[in-house]
C-alpha cells in the first residue's frame, strides 16, 4: 500500500510526445481513474508507474521513495490487463495461487490456501476453483485474473481497461461487482479506461488525459458538473453536450445571452451574469446537456422551433437530433416518447442548468450554482 506521485513525467517516442509533463498525486488507498480517448497516453502512464517504460524526464515516487531506478519486479505492483493472460492448463485455483508461488512472493501452502479461498469468496468464483479457465465464462475469467492480482496484496494495483473485452451486459455487471468490492480491496488502484461510465462510477478521482497531457483532475461530480474545458465536457455523457455560440448582451441592466436564432435570447441567472461581467466576456459557447433542454410539441414562450432529424433509441432512452435552422441539437428523452422524423418540436434552454465556456480558449467560465445542499438526505429513504 502506497501513495503514488508522478512529477513532470515526459516520454517521447521518436517525434511523438506520448507524455508531456505529467504530474499526479495519487493518495494511499485511492481508486484513481485515468480516463481519455484512444491514444491519449493512458497506458503509457500506467507503464511508467509499473516501471515497464522509463520516462525521459521526471520522477516516480511511491510514498516518499523515488522509484526511478527500481526494477519493475521490485516495485511490488500487480497488473490486470484487458486480455486476462491466464494459464490455460492450470486450474482456476492454481492460476490464482500462481502469484504466490513465484520466487519473489513465495508463501507457505496454508497461507496460499487461505488467501485463494478468501479471494474466491470475495469475487464469487468459489465454485470454479477446480475448473480450468477454458470452462469459465469471460466475466469469470476476468475475475480470476483479478483474483490472481488481489491475493498478492501489492503496493499498487494497476488495471488497464480490464472490462473493455466484455460485452455491454457483462461490462455493466462487472463494473458494479468491482465497485461493490472496491472498499474491501484496501490498496491503491490506478485504473485506465476510455469508458466514461466506468470512470464516473469507480473513480474516487478521475484524471482526464488528452494528447499526453492531463486536462483535468477531480471527482466524478466535479468533472461532470464543472468540466475544465469543452473537450472534457464532450467526453462525459451518452449524448454529446451541445455547444452553441452565444453573445452576451446587456439590456436595462440585465445580461442576456443571444443565441443564433432569430430574436432568441435568454436571461442569464444572476450568479452567471456576475462572473461574465467580471471576466468581461462578450461571446461564449453555451454548453447544454440533455437535462438543460426542455422540449414541447406545441409552441411555448421562449422556445426555438426545430424538426426531428433523427431519433435513435439508446437502450432505455431515445436520443433525438433536432435540426433548428443551421444548428443540430441532440438530447435524450424517455423511451416511450414517440417522435416521427421531420415532426416539429420546440426547445428551450434552461440557463440554470447550462455551462458557459470561453468561445476562444474553450475553457470553462461558469455555471449557475444550485442553492440546495448537494447530496442532501431525507427523501426516498426508509
Amino acid at each position: 500500500m502506497a501513495g503514488i506521485r508522478l512529477k513532470e513525467i515526459t516520454k517521447t517516442y521518436g517525434s511523438v510526445k506520448a507524455l508531456d509533463q505529467i504530474s499526479l498525486d495519487i493518495k494511499n488507498n485511492e481508486f484513481f481513474v485515468i480516463f481519455g480517448p484512444a491514444g491519449a497516453g493512458k497506458t503509457s502512464i500506467l507503464n511508467v508507474i509499473a516501471g515497464i517504460t522509463d520516462p525521459d524526464e521526471g520522477d516516480v515516487y511511491f510514498d516518499e521513495k523515488n522509484m526511478n531506478y527500481v526494477e519493475p519486479k521490485d516495485r511490488d505492483v500487480a497488473m490486470v490487463f484487458e486480455n486476462y493472460a491466464l494459464y490455460p492448463h492450470k486450474t482456476v485455483y492454481e492460476n490464482i495461487a500462481s502469484s504466490m508461488r513465484t520466487k519473489m512472493h513465495r508463501q507457505p501452502q496454508e497461507i496460499i490456501d487461505q488467501k485463494v479461498k478468501e479471494v474466491a469468496e470475495l469475487l464469487n468464483i468459489t465454485e470454479l476453483l477446480e475448473r480450468q479457465p477454458a470452462q469459465a465464462s469471460n466475466g469469470q475469467r476476468q475475475r480470476i485474473a483479478l483474483g490472481r492480482a488481489l491475493v498478492r496484496n501489492p503496493n499498487v494495483f494497476l488495471m488497464d481497461e480490464p472490462l473493455a473485452h466484455l460485452d455491454a451486459k457483462l461490462r455493466n455487471f462487472m463494473r458494479k461487482e468491482l465497485k461493490s468490492i472496491q472498499e474491501r480491496l484496501h490498496s491503491t488502484t490506478v485504473y485506465v479506461t476510455h469508458d466514461y461510465t466506468e470512470a464516473m462510477s469507480l473513480g474516487d478521482r478521475i484524471a482526464v488525459v488528452n494528447e499526453g497531457k492531463i486536462v483535468q483532475t477531480g471527482t466524478a461530480g466535479e468533472v461532470y458538473e464543472f468540466p475544465g474545458t469543452e473537450f472534457v465536457a464532450k467526453l462525459f455523457g451518452d449524448c454529446e453536450i451541445n455547444l452553441i455560440p452565444g453573445q452576451v448582451v446587456q439590456e436595462q441592466g440585465k445580461l442576456y445571452l443571444k443565441l443564433p436564432w432569430e430574436n432568441h435570447r435568454c436571461l442569464l441567472p444572476e450568479d452567471v451574469a456576475r462572473v461574465l461581467r467580471e471576466k468581461e466576456v462578450t461571446t461564449v459557447d453555451l454548453g447544454a446537456r440533455s437535462a438543460a433542454i426542455e422540449y414541447f410539441r406545441t409552441p411555448e414562450e421562449g422556445c426555438i422551433q426545430g424538426q426531428i432529424y433523427t431519433n435513435e433509441p439508446l437502450g432505455n432512452k431515445v436520443e433525438l437530433v433536432v435540426k433548428a435552422e443551421q444548428a443540430m441539437i441532440r438530447f435524450t428523452v424517455k423511451v416511450d416518447e414517440k417522435f416521427q422524423i421531420d415532426e416539429k418540436i420546440y426547445l428551450r434552454f434552461d440557463m440554470e442548468k447550462c455551462l458557459f465556456f470561453h468561445s476562444d480558449t474553450k475553457e470553462f467560465l461558469t455555471r449557475h450554482q444550485r442553492q440546495t445542499v448537494r447530496g442532501g438526505r431525507g427523501n426516498g429513504r426508509a
Partner: protein, 379 residues
C-alpha cells in the same frame, strides 16, 4: 411490388446434416433455420435480430437466393420465387465487408452492374449521380475505393446496391465494421434513405439498438427459430418470453427467480435472498403459492418512493452517479436488481430504500419454459 412472404421455411446445411446424422438428432432437427414464417409488407423496414448463430444471415441469403431453401417457400405477392435465380429476384445486397472492386473508382463501382446490363452511357451516368447524391458520395466519385474510409466505403456499397432500383434492399450487418460515431451517423442516414426511397428493406443485425432504431418491425431469432415478430414498441414493452425480454434493452431487464409466499395474508414474491416484493394484483389469478417463477421489470420502471405504499424495502449495494443517470444496484445473491433513476439523492451502500414497480410494466415468466405468463385481460 407486393408483400414478401416466407412460408414455413427450413434450412439445413448439408455437411452439418451428415456429421450429425449419427448423433441421431435429425428428428429433433439441426436446422440453421426452422419453420420460419414471416410476412413483410411492401415498403417496410424489417430488422432480423439475434445473437450469432441464430440463422439471421442464412435467412437473408435465402431471400437473396444465395442459399437454397431446404423446405418451404418464399413468395413475392403470389409468385413463388424460391427457385428463381438471384439476379431475377429484384434484390439489392450490401454486406458488412464491402466487397467493392478495389482497382475501380467509386463511380465505376456504383456503375458496374448497370454497365454489365449494357445500359446506355447517359442513363448510367444519370442513375449513378442520382444515387451518389442520395448517399452523399458525389464528391468521391473519382476516388479509388482503397482511398476511402470505412464509413465512405459502406456508403458506396449501399449506393451500389441501390443503383439497380431493387424491389428489396438486403443489408447484412452493414454497420458493425464501423466505429461508434460513424455507425451512429450512418444509422441516421440509412433511416432517412429508407424514408426517401421507400423500398422494402431487410436488415440483419446482432445489435438490438440498431434494430430498434431502424426497423418498423423486428423479427427476433434464436437458434434458427423465430421468437417474436413485432414493432419495436411491442418487442420492448410486451416480450413473449425470457429470451426476448433479456435480449432487448440496455441496461437489460431485471430478471429474478422468485417463489410465491405470503406475508400475513398478502401474497409476495420471495427473492433468493429472502427479501420480498409485493405481488401486483394483476398476477393474483395466475400464481400459485409455493411455485417458482421469474419476474421481469426494466430498470427504468422502478421508482424510489417515500410514502407508505411501496412494493419492497431493499438495501442498496452499489450507487453510481453517471451524471444524468443514477444507477442503484441491489444485490440478490449472485445478481443485481438494478434501478435507473434520473433524479435521486445520493445513496450509500447499506441504505434502505422503498421501491415501487410500474405495474403495467411488471412481467411474469414460467421458470421452466421461459414463456411469458400473461395476466387475464381486464374487463
Amino acid at each position: 411490388m407486393a408483400e414478401l412472404r416466407l412460408n414455413h421455411v427450413y434450412k439445413m446445411y448439408e455437411n452439418t446434416a451428415k456429421k450429425k446424422r449419427k448423433a441421431a438428432s435429425l428428428k429433433q432437427g439441426n436446422y440453421a433455420v426452422k419453420d420460419l414464417s414471416l410476412v413483410i409488407p411492401d415498403g417496410e423496414f424489417i430488422g432480423i435480430l439475434g445473437p450469432s448463430g441464430c440463422g439471421k444471415s442464412t435467412t437473408l441469403r435465402m431471400i437473396a437466393g444465395l442459399e437454397e431453401i431446404t423446405k418451404g417457400e418464399i413468395q413475392i405477392g403470389d409468385q413463388d420465387i424460391s427457385r428463381l435465380h438471384p439476379k431475377d429476384r429484384g434484390i439489392g445486397l450490401a454486406f458488412e465487408d464491402y466487397a467493392l472492386y478495389p482497382p475501380l473508382s467509386v463511380y465505376d463501382n456504383i456503375a458496374f452492374c448497370l454497365k454489365a446490363h449494357k445500359l446506355p452511357k447517359e442513363e448510367v451516368r444519370k442513375r449513378v449521380l442520382e444515387i451518389a447524391g442520395i448517399m452523399k458520395v458525389e464528391t468521391l466519385l473519382e476516388e479509388k475505393v482503397s482511398a476511402l474510409s470505412g464509413g465512405q466505403k459502406q456508403r458506396v456499397n449501399i449506393a451500389r446496391a441501390l443503383v439497380r432500383n431493387p424491389d428489396i434492399l438486403l443489408l447484412d450487418e452493414p454497420l458493425s465494421h464501423l466505429d461508434g460515431k460513424m455507425r451512429q451517423i450512418l444509422r441516421g442516414e440509412i433511416k432517412r434513405l429508407h424514408k426517401m426511397i421507400g423500398c422494402t428493406t431487410i436488415l440483419v443485425t446482432h445489435d438490438q439498438m440498431e434494430a430498434m432504431s431502424l426497423a418498423d418491425r423486428i423479427a427476433i431469432m434464436k437458434l434458427g427459430v423465430l421468437q417474436q415478430y413485432g414493432t419495436p414498441e411491442e418487442i420492448y414493452n410486451d416480450p413473449v418470453n425470457l429470451f426476448v425480454a433479456d435480449f432487448i434493452g440496455e441496461p437489460p431487464m431485471n430478471l429474478l427467480t422468485v417463489r410465491v409466499g405470503r406475508k400475513g395474508e398478502t401474497p409476495v414474491f420471495v427473492l433468493k435472498n429472502q427479501e420480498t416484493i409485493k405481488v401486483p394484483r394483476k398476477f393474483y389469478p395466475v400464481i400459485k403459492d409455493g411455485e417458482e417463477y421469474i419476474i421481469g421489470i426494466r430498470p427504468t420502471n422502478i421508482e424510489i418512493v417515500n410514502g407508505e405504499t411501496y412494493d419492497a424495502l431493499l438495501e442498496v449495494d452499489v450507487f453510481e452517479n453517471l451524471g444524468e443517470e443514477k444507477i442503484i444496484s441491489i444485490r440478490i445473491e449472485d445478481t443485481f436488481l438494478t434501478i435507473v433513476a434520473e433524479d435521486t439523492e445520493v445513496l450509500e451502500k447499506g441504505d434502505k430504500i422503498r421501491i415501487k414497480m410500474k405495474e403495467d410494466r411488471f412481467y411474469l415468466f414460467d421458470k421452466t419454459t421461459g414463456m411469458r405468463i400473461r395476466e387475464p385481460e381486464r374487463r
